[in-house]
């Protein structure tokens, strides 16, 4: 992969982060940590991997993306706006009275959202339904589902994992934003997830473990998933919650709080500086 393309995708991820923090600050509530940790993954999906067209959001043959960790939608809204699904200015309506941009994504209200989410643990089932429908309808598209690590504690995820392997849904790719923190603490303190790769492997999935902030690894992982034809794939992306802003990184408290104006200013300076080093 060319350096220049990697840098472009990294830059997009930083833009996603900056927009995310701005709109969260404006909304005065929302989920910061998990939005920042998934930014690089969203950048690669929306600006490199997914076969989509913002001018035709209902195009039948498009790839689908499900944000199963629906609370981390600020970063998705920023991504969709950058991609051209709706104007950047509308991002400032997040969480406001009657806004199309809810605190958890609503496909009936927001262009580019393939399924509404918010109740954790449900996205993989919906994604499997889409994957099986694509097979029945003889379509070549791919279905991507991004899950949080905490939501893997929901039993339904494993029902879906078992079923996806049973149906050999190779057109389905799950990505786990494995930042290892959830509302009440670390995964280990709340409910241990490891050995995570072994769990998925034993369920019959192709497991690809990567650094979720390394653009090249993310790109290659999606390619490897695409080449896997006999089973679904899961990309376990090790990430840092709050990635990109030093005072937000790895802080449990930043799961559901937003930056003040002063914190935002500080964060934007840091993100700009990091961007310059690309």
């Amino acid at each position: 992969m060319e350096i220049i393309q990697v840098n472009e995708l990294s830059k997009k991820a930083y833009q996603i982060r900056k927009l995310t923090l701005e709109l969260l600050c404006e909304a005065k509530s929302g989920h910061t940590g998990g939005s920042l940790s998934e930014a690089d993954i969203l950048s690669v999906l929306y600006f490199s991997k997914m076969n989509i067209d913002p001018a035709k959001p209902d195009w039948e043959d498009r790839d689908r993306f499900i944000l199963s960790k629906g609370h981390a939608c600020p970063a998705l809204y920023a991504t969709l706006a950058l991609k051209g699904y709706f104007p950047l200015e509308s991002l400032s309506t997040l969480r406001k009275l009657g806004s199309k941009l809810q605190g958890h994504p609503d496909m009936k209200r927001t262009l580019g959202i393939d399924i509404s989410t918010g109740s954790l643990g449900q996205g993989l089932s919906a994604g499997l339904g889409m994957a099986l429908a694509s097979r029945l309808l003889k379509k070549q598209n791919r279905i991507y589902v991004l899950l949080g690590c905490g939501e893997l504690q929901e039993g339904q995820v494993w029902e879906a994992a078992m079923a996806a392997a049973h149906y050999k849904a190779a057109n389905l790719t799950a990505i786990i934003d494995y930042n290892r923190l959830q509302i009440d603490g670390s995964n280990s303190e709340v409910m241990e997830l490891s050995p995570l790769a072994d769990k998925w492997r034993s369920f019959g999935w192709k497991v690809i473990e990567i650094d979720g902030h390394n653009i090249e690894q993310i790109v290659n992982a999606f390619e490897e998933a695409k080449q896997t034809v006999d089973c679904p794939s899961v990309i376990i992306a090790k990430t840092v919650k709050g990635k990109g802003v030093s005072f937000i990184e790895n802080q449990v408290g930043w799961h559901g709080r937003v930056p003040t104006k002063e914190e935002l200013a500080k964060a934007l300076i840091e993100l700009d500086e990091r961007m310059k080093t690309l």
Binding site: S116, Q156, A163
Partner: protein, 336 residues
Amino acid sequence: MASGLTYTMLDATKLSTSEIYGAVLCELGEKHPDIVGFSADLAKSTKIGLFQKKFPDRFFNVGIAEQNMFGIAAGMAKAGLTPFVSTFAIFATMRALDQVHTDICYQNLNVKIIATHGGLSFGQAGSTHHCTEDLSIMRSMANCQVIVPADGIETANAVEAAYYTPGPIYIRINRGFDRRFYDRAEYGFKIGKAVKLTEGTDITIIACGSCVYQAVEAANILANADGIKARVLDMHTIKPIDKEAILEAVHDTRRIITVEDHNVIGGLGSAVAEVIAGSGKGCAFERLGIPDTFSIIGLHEDLMAYYKIDTNGILECARELLGRDFEADDDWEDEV
């Protein structure tokens, strides 16, 4: 129904209600390749297995995992297919309620939930398999229509109508055989429109599901033994409820009994009460159903007798209601 389903009255006498459902779904599936079927290891019990046999590539037995099943169905509906999902009523409306609520009703997806073993019809299996809360639950799901057919023929009509009606629909049928009530399919079934089964001016009995047969039996006895003219409405659609038929009954008979195989809270009786209360018109009113309790076990017909939602229970209630002192109102004629 106009589409010419080929099941016959002969079939209807031989088949259980869910077998008729399975047969109708097979006929619909023949004509409509967008129909897909789902069950959670209850394909045989719910009879959606008939569809599975005919269209193995379009059927998904997801194992004993109802939550996942409704999620997959939602994804398929979003991709343009029309899922029919069958499991027991108690699992569809409680085990997987979050998925039914968030994945299907909230997103107004075109998923048809055909739930079997409703009410007390799984009698001897015990209270974990009775389902006397589903109508209350499903009625409060925005976007969702709720239908309780009276017998196999009405089930056939409801299932067919559900296919042609976009959006989520919950159809509740019983386990096993229902007493056949309708003798032909062409009686003008329409979602949201009650069927007037007997004319009457003294009292109206509004029933759904297995209680419809009992209500008509009670009306016959009232006519023959008591000289009382009871109107019976088959209120097969609990939501949207037929307000017009209810208000007409209030006006014409001033006495209404509702009867359902469901908790008296939140189902047919509550839906009718809401319409009456909202109209501001006076009416003597009783709800028959399961009296806000977890049911005892027994055969379905014995349980219906025990909870007084059978012919005798309806008779007793009707006679009591007719004996009540009821204040006349000179302005009744002005109210319609």
